[in-house]
Each structure stands twice: as structure tokens, then as C-alpha cells.
Subunit: 147 residues, 2 copies
DNA sequence: TCAACATTGACAGCATACTGACTATCTGTA
DNA sequence: TACAGATAGTCAGTATGCTGTCAATGTTGA
């Protein structure tokens, strides 16, 4: 009999939901959601990317990203600026407020990680991270049998 | 600087998205989504639960579950029957077709797991499962400081 | 019995995530 | 230059997941 409860997919979805809920609690006061936080975090590293570039960097769907930016623009954390050499594109820039949040929000993320991985040792967390990276992006010849 | 890309939360969300996409591919022919599959899998184990019971068993939000059942009812895989002793509640039952899908869909799930964990050894998959279980449900005194 | 409280499921509303279609614009080539 | 094809971003549509609210029904205790 198929054991959903212990399947990797089911456990990933529940782990993800727990991570989301914990981070949500920590950043609630800033009226942000976890994906919005993640997008800001990418911009802290590199500002002024186009939506397509951001979408690739953050592995976020192009249309999903559009909505995220709409909402972050409405709360005044980022702004769309016309691209100087491509009239189709926008460059997404942090506002001053968006940049100022890096410190406090990073602390929220650190607290969240601590709560989330409360039951694991540091070594286990590193192992988990390594395995999740493999899960996410594993690209072997087997993935592209036709190539 | 905060490193989103290697944070456990970000990696969980991407791993989950990949697991979803792979399973989606495998079960597409049955016109099912991964959460719908998971719900069926709980019913294969125990049929006739109420929505609240199913919601607890599957750790699925009560209102989300309502929608899932609506759609599975529409595609003829489950049906709502009035609860014999509680006029507020329904018992959710598999239809014949819903029961028949257990074999083929379980195979889809097995193939999905193989593709998802392609880059990991069997031992690593077990380790990953163990750690995800801890992540999901870790309940220590620290989670309930007020109790 | 009856009033207070709890539970069940529905509904509205919002944010994410993805598909497919569309417009505007850019690029490469004849 | 002019045109075919590629690319940037939007929009509509659908499913999930969650919050809050509500009506109907159950349950419990005075």
C-alpha cells in the first residue's frame, strides 16, 4: 500500500508549509509574505535586474514574479524603472525603505531557521541543505534522455 | 549578507516545486494534481472519513480540503455521503474508479520518487526523510512557551 | 428543557504558482 | 530596409493554501 505520509514529496510540502508559516510569523509586522521576502533578498544582493533576470535568478515563474513586484511596489519597497536600452523591459530597484529592511529582515530569517531546525544538529542542517540542493537542481544525462 | 539561495526555506520551496512538477507530469493523464493524488492516497488507506478527520489526517487546511473534494467529486473519484449520525458532516467515500486508480497512481508516485532522488543514494533518501519528518512536526516546549 | 458553547462545512477574499495567449518591442538576416 | 522570429511583460483562467466569517447542527451543564 502506498504510504503518502512518509513520501518525500508529501514531507517536502509539509516542511515547506511549516517554514512558510514560521517565517510569516516573524515578518508579519512588516506586512510581507515569504516569497516577497525572498525577492527582496535577491535584490539586496543585486539591484536593478529586469523581471526576466530576477525570474531566472530566483527561479520564480515570470507571471508570478509580475504579481510579486506589483505588491512590493504598492507597499513601497521596490520600484519599476524603464530599461535604458529596451523599451519592453523594466529594471527593478529597491527603494530606500526596501534597502533599510535588509538588517531586520535578515534577523527574522535567522530566527526562523533556528526555530525550524530546532530538532536537528548543525551537521544535520548542513546535510539537509546539501541534499535539498541536489533535489532541486539535479541535472544528469538521465533527465534529458533525448539529448 | 543574507544568502537566500542556500537557506533551508528557499530550498524547501524549490524542492517542493520540483517534486510537484515531476508528479504532475506522471499523473497528468489522469487529470489529477499532486494534492488531489495525496488525498486519494489517504482514502486508499481509510475510506469514509469526514472532512474534518481527513483534514487532520492529511494535514490539509479545512477550507482547502473542501475545494479538493469538490474537484475530485466532479471528476468522479470520490463522493460525499451524509453522515449517519451528524447532519452537519459528510463522509468522503472513494468511487469504484477512485479505488481502481490505486495501482496505476502508486506506480506513478514510485517513478516520481526515483526521478526526484536520482542524485541521492538510498541511504541519503532515508536520511532526508528522517530529517524532513523532524522539520515538519518538531514540537518541543519551545514551540509553546505559554503552556 | 434550554441557553451557552463548540463543531462542521461553506463562502469570500487574498497571495502564490503555473499555463496559454497576447501586445509591444527587439534582433538577425536577406 | 523589411520581415520573420525571438523576447519582455501582461492578462485571463485555474488550483492550492490560508484567514475570517457565517449558518446549521451538536453537546453540555444549569
Amino acid at each position: 500500500m502506498y504510504d503518502v505520509e512518509n513520501s518525500i514529496g508529501f514531507l517536502l510540502s509539509k516542511g515547506y508549509q511549516r517554514a512558510w508559516a514560521l517565517l510569516r510569523e516573524e515578518i508579519e509586522q512588516y506586512e510581507l509574505t515569504p516569497p516577497q521576502f525572498a525577492l527582496l533578498a535577491f535584490l539586496w544582493r543585486e539591484d536593478g535586474l529586469t523581471q526576466t533576470e530576477l525570474s531566472e535568478a530566483g527561479q520564480i515563474d515570470r507571471t508570478t514574479l509580475g504579481g510579486l513586484i506589483d505588491r512590493l511596489e504598492k507597499t513601497g519597497l521596490v520600484e519599476r524603472r524603464p530599461h535604458p536600452r529596451d523599451r519592453r523591459a523594466y529594471q527593478i530597484h529597491l527603494t530606500t525603505r526596501g534597502r533599510e529592511l535588509e538588517g531586520p529582515l535578515s534577523e527574522c530569517a535567522t530566527r526562523t531557521l533556528a526555530r525550524l531546525t530546532n530538532g536537528l544538529t548543525e551537521t544535520e542542517v548542513s546535510e539537509l541543505r546539501r541534499m535539498l540542493i541536489i533535489l532541486r537542481g539535479e541535472r544528469t544525462v538521465y533527465d534529458f534522455p533525448a539529448c
